[in-house]
Symmetry: C2
Subunit: 589 residues, 2 copies
């Protein structure tokens, strides 16, 4: 991972790495079990301003972890379980580095926590969607972010050496919250009783031994002498639950090698162009330039050049760079180009072969990338123009956007289309809505709609709320989802607008002004209010553990990350590790 220091607090970051370049993790293999061992190099942080003692981590350490999880999915289908442990004596992980946090800007803290949260959720996604199971083998103290990493695993085994404990010392020591889902996972995933969680969350020393098991904080404890054997047994057991293939080969994820210039990042299928004066980026995704393979064997043979894998890896990297390296860009204009038939043929292949391990991985990577977009605190406006390729999977980019504008010019062909990747009707329901789109935009009353349930089968590209983007969009009219999925062929601008699939469909006379004014108006608004507004409007419908982490927990953490009691001159985060004790304003808010 390259990184140059931009300011002390905010290095320019690349999110690409590979096992042979890892500084902080060792990845080893033993048949169906991989071991990912944390061994953080103290002096190899992203910035020289702090030392990563006791397996504490910064963004660089987490980028390697995220890379390892992704590579295990694509490059090692024969791996069925992963043991996460540490190579340090009596220390598993001390959590996020406090001196790094203390020296960081507010925005950096927020982006750091967001990325680490996405990495933990990617582990749970690998377990649920790809049968790659995780065992946290806590061979020593496990504090804060260290315990939050363990909470993201399927099972937690803690060494019982009289000393090693799990803990969330953020509140008692630092005056902040555990920032990586800890509180949510304790009560919602592990279902620890709230009063015990309250006690646990306020004692810096944490909980160990039998009590940690009784309180459901860990699944088991084990004396040092038996620890290694017990870890091996449990890992084998977890591996037995996997439905991954018995043997490889996997495919290799090669470097993306984008061309980075002052105002652009260019990949093979994705381009980002930056207009710093207007604080706008234009993100363009090109559909497949040639026909793509349609059988698992041919897809395997094509490897990481298979268009959806390549395009969405690039899109993921582009979004991460925008988040961290371009904080002043407020609006991202989303465009697509390419051949509709070719893009829809790819979707067909993905749906037909989704039972194949590699196809499954490709679909899940597309899903995670789109979720990364949902969680990116920038405004997205999709522009659907002649020559664009908003069909099927790529139409999800328009659905993920805060608004979409589709040019309605009778002189130029301009269509969108759905595919099985957006959802499918359940067998037997196909006749239900065939072509019968309701006239008018919102005919069902809220009261009627609340009782309804869609008959559509959720597509594979679910949002964090557990629904597809179409389901979320038409929460008030679930039957419309069925009708749209039953629609044959493309939608022209008028049809798309009437179906509610695009926000606005200006004609050729209005297009330039309407789009320009909308983008200019957006750029003038308070960036903080927009972040809050989008975080509330994008996730209608059910909440899940995942949305709770990004909604409730993250929002509170961001609040606390600004409070003088944490980050002020005498705040707890500022005072930590210095001689002085924190001084609080005890007003409760």
């Amino acid at each position: 991972m390259e990184s140059a220091t931009k300011t002390a607090a905010q290095p320019v970051v690349s999110f690409e790495t590979a096992p042979d370049r890892y500084k902080h993790w060792k990845l080893s293999f033993d048949g169906p079990i991989a071991t990912l061992s944390m061994d953080v190099q103290e002096d190899a942080g992203l910035s020289p301003d702090y030392r990563l003692k006791l397996n504490s981590y910064d963004l660089g350490v987490d980028i390697e972890l995220a890379d390892a999880i992704t590579r295990l999915r694509f490059e090692h289908p024969e791996v069925h379980a992963v043991v996460i442990t540490s190579l340090k004596e009596r220390v598993f992980c001390a959590g996020a580095n406090i001196f790094m946090l203390r020296g960081s800007t507010h925005a950096w803290k927020v982006n750091f926590c967001k990325f680490t949260n996405e990495t933990r959720l990617a582990m749970e996604d690998a377990s649920e969607q790809s049968g790659l199971k995780f065992l946290a083998a806590l061979n020593g103290i496990c504090a804060g972010g260290g315990y939050e990493l363990a909470l993201a695993c399927d099972e937690i085994l803690l060494v019982d050496d009289g000393n090693s404990a799990v803990s969330l010392p953020e509140t008692p020591l630092l005056g902040v919250l555990p920032g990586t889902g800890g509180l949510t996972r304790v009560v919602d995933k592990r279902k620890v009783r709230r009063d015990l969680a309250d006690f646990f969350g306020t004692v810096a020393e944490g909980v160990k031994g039998k009590r940690a098991v009784e309180w459901r904080l860990v699944d088991g404890v084990c004396p040092t002498s038996q620890f290694r054997q017990r870890v091996a047994e449990r890992a084998k057991q977890l591996a037995g639950k996997s439905d991954r293939p018995a043997a490889g080969p996997g495919i290799t994820l090669s470097p993306l090698n984008p061309q980075v210039s002052e105002n652009a990042v260019r990949y093979s299928a994705v381009t980002v162009e930056i207009d710093r004066d207007k604080r706008i980026a234009t993100l363009t995704v090109a559909g497949p330039g040639e026909d793509q393979p349609s059988t698992p064997d041919a897809i395997l043979a094509m490897g990481d050049r298979f268009w959806p894998l390549r395009a969405f890896r690039e899109l993921d990297d582009a979004l991460l760079r925008l988040r961290v390296n371009e904080p002043m860009i407020g609006t991202i204009v989303v465009k697509t180009t390419g051949d509709h038939a070719r893009a829809l043929a790819v979707d067909e292949a993905l749906i037909t072969h989704q039972g194949h391990w590699l196809v499954r991985e490709v679909v899940q990577l597309v899903k995670r990338t789109l979720k990364r977009m949902d969680l990116t605190s920038r405004s997205f406006f999709a522009l659907i123009e002649p020559g664009s390729c908003f069909v099927g999977t790529l139409f999800e980019l328009a659905l993920a956007a805060d608004r979409s504008y589709m040019l309605d010019d009778p002189e130029q062909e301009n269509t969108i289309a759905l595919s099985g990747m957006n959802g499918r009707l359940r067998a037997g329901d196909a006749s239900a809505g065939q072509g019968r789109l309701r006239a008018g935009g919102a005919s069902a009353s809220p009261a009627e709609a609340r009782g309804d349930h869609a008959r559509a089968e959720a597509g594979p590209l679910k949002m964090s709320n557990g629904l597809t983007r179409l389901q979320t969009r038409f929460l008030g009219e679930p039957s419309r989802v069925d009708e749209l999925l039953a629609h044959d062929g493309p939608f022209d601008p008028r049809e798309a607008y009437e179906a509610g699939l695009v926000s606005f469909a200006p004609d050729e006379l209005d297009w330039d002004d309407e789009v320009r004014l909308a983008i200019e108006a957006r750029a003038a608004l308070s960036p903080d209010a927009l972040t809050g507004m989008e975080a509330n409007l994008r996730f209608a419908g059910p909440e899940t553990m995942e949305t709770k982490i990004f909604g409730r927990l993250t929002a509170w953490q961001n609040w606390i990350f600004q409070r003088p009691n944490a980050v002020g001159e005498k705040g707890a985060l500022t005072a930590y590790g210095s001689q002085s004790r924190p001084e609080f304003d005890f007003n409760r808010t």
Copy 2:
């Protein structure tokens, strides 16, 4: 409502009022329809620092609204629908007063929004639980908090006069969020499409006429000439959905008349004692001092002296005073006193007669008060000592607390008990768990437990998450709820501890030190981190629109309420109404 100015920003507030003292609302009756008309007196705000123009409101205006809703429930059972409208020409309501917000401390803003949110939710509660329906009759411009008030109604009718619109101008004009559930209700209650909501949330002028209906923002529009008649028709229709009694009489809610001194507030059944040095309040609730009536007629005759109504009205007032007038009190020690049998007999009467309108109202008021406690950002520690009365409804106070300590001294009797108010087994399931408490605190593995479902019937005292406190407490072991509800008679300290009903049960040797140290340790922690931690631990399990409003939306709003882009010298909230335009730091976070 009395109020004296403490500081310019933070007046001392009483939450008691009555219709004959309302300054800002007129309440009138016409058979089953009541009309609540907003007519805010500009110069009668809680502070002289701002003028409440255009039906804008401050906390004082909302206290009257909350009072009116409660009185309609208790004093006017014959009212089946309420029309909310305005007496100002062409103005419904301009929302929260911006100059009030601008001049307020962060804590005041947060508490103001919390109370107004609770009032809106109390309207929805009255509709769902008591069949009291609400019609928002928007006779003029309806902006920000004005529209949020309308969103809390069952139906919204907007006058179509070419000018009147609904709007949420907070983001474009003030750089903050609509603070009273607006964003959540738009997409989750009214199920407005997220892209339309995005547009709506960024245009200060809002949306009017046909488009407002098509976008689901209102249920209907109507020309001025027909407005009055249409309101009457719709109100009649709504009233027809009510299951309230055809005629009264109701009961009168008389003033609570607490004795307020420097360090205490004393009501008939509730006492609050303040220790400002230690930043602790002790809240004591006394059970019924004499036998209470057990039939609806006798309860009606007793009126507001009926113990549960009296005690929980007092508790509600005490919590509100603590929130707003005692911001430095960090920990609230909760105690009870009284006779178990008498308190359990009250629960029996409430359960037996919950179909009666008044009993229903009493139960719902108890429920809302307990929810107010869940949402109070102070730490609650329940102390269960000999002489206490933590049984049934009053045991909910211990369940609502962050922790409970129960003295285990063989020399002194000390028990707790459950009642139907905590939940009941479904018919036919009573044998399931009779007496068979599992040994050990947490025997079900998280994986096992996740699949399970409790067979317990939810009691009436549901939390915002839609579950009872027992269900939330044992999210990981739903069958334990059944077992506990099947348990006959009281639990002694050992049984209560083993059942997981109390957090800790120290013996007489440890009690004083353990309790004292726990309270002292709590008082030393960062109040902000505690607020965030408690907000995340108290609401495990499902999220509802209500928890979304208090979790996701409120947390983001609190974040924004601290950002320089809103409240800094050149922030949008600061600049509003002055000559200067806001200047933003355009870093997106």
